[in-house]
Symmetry: C2
Subunit: 92 residues, 2 copies
């Protein structure tokens, strides 16, 4: 079974569209590498966390910021397909 | 555990944005009723199917069309919160 990415977001904070945008970026880049992306409205206020299966790979509370999309793709790539070249998203 | 809606779509057909749009409609309407919506790129060409947990509630091949959003909300509502009033999406 391919890994599932979950984006847990705070709906009351108005972060659904941000989460849906990031989901589409990941689905476009990792179409064949992942099972899919789950958008999960959080019951916890201020939450914006990204998981691969059960493992958290980004947490807004810990980082005090949202992930950049390039960074998020690198984090996902490193877990699901480390050999994959992300093109311009691979430069620092 | 609240139910998960899965939208399985054919990425080669260019249906990702359609699936992401429908996901956001469902997440807006059913924020507290569902665990989330999973966007799942299909390996089967032409597939556009919607599931609640393991149960299929809409299949493009069977219906020979895409679901209307009002119809999709009614199908989800009937499974996850039958008492819920969908407002203008409840009229035929």
């Amino acid at each position: 079974m391919k890994p599932t990415v979950t984006i847990e977001y705070c709906p009351k904070c108005g972060w659904m569209m941000r989460a849906a945008y990031m989901a589409q970026e990941l689905l476009t880049t990792f179409t064949d590498d992942i099972y899919g992306v789950t958008l999960h409205p959080s019951e916890i206020s201020g939450r914006y966390s990204v998981f691969i299966d059960e493992d958290i790979i980004f947490d807004r509370k810990k980082e005090s910021r949202f992930p950049e999309i390039k960074e998020l793709k690198q984090l996902v790539r490193d877990r699901v397909n480390p050999e994959k070249n992300l093109g311009h998203s691979d430069k620092k």
